[in-house]
């Protein structure tokens, strides 16, 4: 196991090789690796700013190619630093290109329960995994433009429904301020940080404990939940459906949705 990080984390003890790179140099490291894998010449000078040596990266490139089945796990550190989505794209391209030599896959490390399910559901309904705008009536995908932090920091949105998340505890301050300024609706089993700055909070049953349904494991295996308790609160599914039905019953909504065109 090779671990690449900007600092020596506890996981480094479990790794066979630990490579410490300079912060913000993810894109450079990934791109140099892509060049080395294809046998292109790389100057030692070009490697120096990454905090690694050419020998280290050459060794890594050889190991990647020699693996019989490699997995590139990547975390949020990659897309949260300089380069953002371009870093993730570089990691995915590296894994894709390695398939010219061996079997290789890339998998994002997931912190939250069913974020993989969100990718899958958005993909099969809209064709894109996240950051999808339906504001023109058809799906458009553009990370940076339609990703939540960017939308909120720029102040593009004028209402937010937050389900299964607590951005009030984790997002940058300007984003939180925008959530406070505009009407925010929160669905959560608890009264969260975001609930406190929201206009509306609705308490819902806890997923998997008292709400049934399906969730996806990180490797995209769907698993049925087996809830053990009966919650006094409705499920998220029920509340979201009720909100949509309320809008449709009033004849409201952005586009007329004939029954035969419904997507869910």
């Amino acid at each position: 196991m090779v671990l690449v990080d900007i600092r020596e984390t506890p996981s480094a003890k479990a790794a066979d090789i630990f490579l410490q790179i300079r912060p913000g140099k993810d894109f450079e490291v990934l791109t140099i690796l892509r060049a080395l894998i294809k046998g292109q010449a790389v100057e030692a000078e070009a490697v120096r700013p990454t905090g690694l040596t050419l020998e280290q990266l050459q060794d890594l490139a050889q190991r990647l190619k020699k693996a019989r089945f490699g997995v590139l796990f990547f975390g949020m550190g990659l897309s949260m630093t300089r380069g953002k989505h371009m870093n993730s794209a570089a990691a995915l391209t590296l894994a894709a290109e390695l398939n010219a030599f061996t079997k290789f896959v890339a998998m994002p490390m997931r912190g939250h329960g069913n974020v993989t399910g969100a990718d899958v559901v958005l993909r099969y309904t809209t064709a894109y995994p996240f950051g999808v705008s339906l504001s023109r009536g058809y799906p458009r995908f553009n990370p940076g433009e339609f990703s939540t932090v960017d939308l909120l920091v720029r102040g593009d949105t004028d209402a937010t429904l937050v389900v299964g998340a607590d951005p009030g505890a984790t997002m940058p301050q300007p984003a939180i301020e925008h959530l406070r300024r505009t009407p925010t609706i929160v669905l959560d089993p608890k009264v969260t940080h975001t609930s406190r700055l929201a206009k509306v909070h609705i308490t819902t049953a806890a997923t998997g404990i008292s709400a049934p349904g399906t969730v996806y494991r990180m490797d995209e295996i769907p698993l049925p939940l087996r809830p053990i308790l009966h919650s006094p609160y409705p499920t998220d599914e029920h509340v979201i459906r009720s909100i949509r039905q309320t809008i449709q019953n009033r004849g409201g909504g952005f586009l007329p949705t004939p029954d035969h065109l419904q997507i869910a």
């Binding site: 069913n114 974020v115 339906l134 008292s210 349904g213 939940l225 599914e237």
Partner: protein
């Protein structure tokens, strides 16, 4: 209160989604977990079937579920560019409903993946 036992319960606290957990509950709360990690055990024991929070809040004041749904519907319908965000700790069935709602109001829909 009689104990109920669920075999092969699924933990949704982290992306590993362990599916081999044994839960014992007394109707109100989970009293024992087997094979869950420390985080999973804390997650299971933390959520109870008790009514700890009001059904809904509007402007910080307690409200009924129906009032809150009507208010939420009005906010989303009125907005020029609403955003639906999160989707991580909910079921796929709820996520599908969220996509449908997004389509109905012309919203941007986004998850933790974009972070």
């Amino acid at each position: 209160m009689e104990l109920s036992v669920v075999q092969n319960a699924v933990c949704t606290f982290c992306g590993c989604v362990c599916d081999d957990i044994e839960l014992h509950a007394d109707g109100q709360r989970i009293v024992e977990t087997k094979r869950a990690c420390i985080l999973g055990e804390a997650w299971f024991k933390h959520h109870t079937a008790e009514r700890l929070y009001p059904a809904a809040l509007i402007d910080g004041r307690e409200a009924s579920l129906e009032e809150a749904i009507a208010c939420a519907a009005e906010i989303l319908e009125r907005a020029d560019l609403p955003l639906i965000y999160g989707l991580s700790n909910i079921t796929c069935e709820a996520q599908r409903e969220a996509v449908w709602l997004a389509e109905t109001v012309g919203a941007v829909i986004d998850s933790h993946t974009s972070l």
